[in-house]
Subunit: 95 residues, 2 copies
């Protein structure tokens, strides 16, 4: 999977609400009602990530979740990251 | 729940393998076989944290998990943090 160029990244970010490109990752922070809601969403994402064989760097404290996606093997952002970001948006919007 | 003093924190850390006191939190990093094993442990910890009504600050990427515990309301470390740290050790040692 090829590393995307900055214009390619910027073009795809336009279709993703609230995601930004920062320090080599595409990132978004989410705030949920409480820990149970945050961890429920994380669990749903975990299954999708495992299925896609592409995993997030994520940090959680109580109802807050920050997700950073990049493709370590490619040294940047690839389509894998946008596929996972789009899946995450679908999961969160259904929650 | 009262904030523990530094000597009290240091005394309790002696009974916790690999935990350190750093920047206002007690911390430990774990490495598991793969993402499934890391997230399985996280799920087990999530239920205990919810039951204790005390939640970790944790960061995961693939098979790595870094946990930081403190008690926001007390502005430091309390017995809640050590109770959760001990529960985490039990979970990980059984995994």
């Amino acid at each position: 999977m090829d590393k995307l160029t900055t214009p390619q990244i910027e073009a795809q970010l336009k279709n993703l609400d609230g995601w930004t490109y920062d320090n080599g990752s595409i990132c978004k922070s989410f705030v949920f009602k409480d820990f149970k809601e945050a961890f429920s969403v994380m669990t749903h994402i975990a299954f999708v990530a495992e299925q896609q064989n592409h995993h997030p760097n994520w940090e959680n404290v109580y109802n807050q979740l920050t997700i950073k996606l990049n493709t370590h093997d490619a040294g940047g952002i690839t389509q894998y990251d946008f596929d996972l970001a789009n899946a995450i948006e679908q999961i969160v919007s259904k929650g």
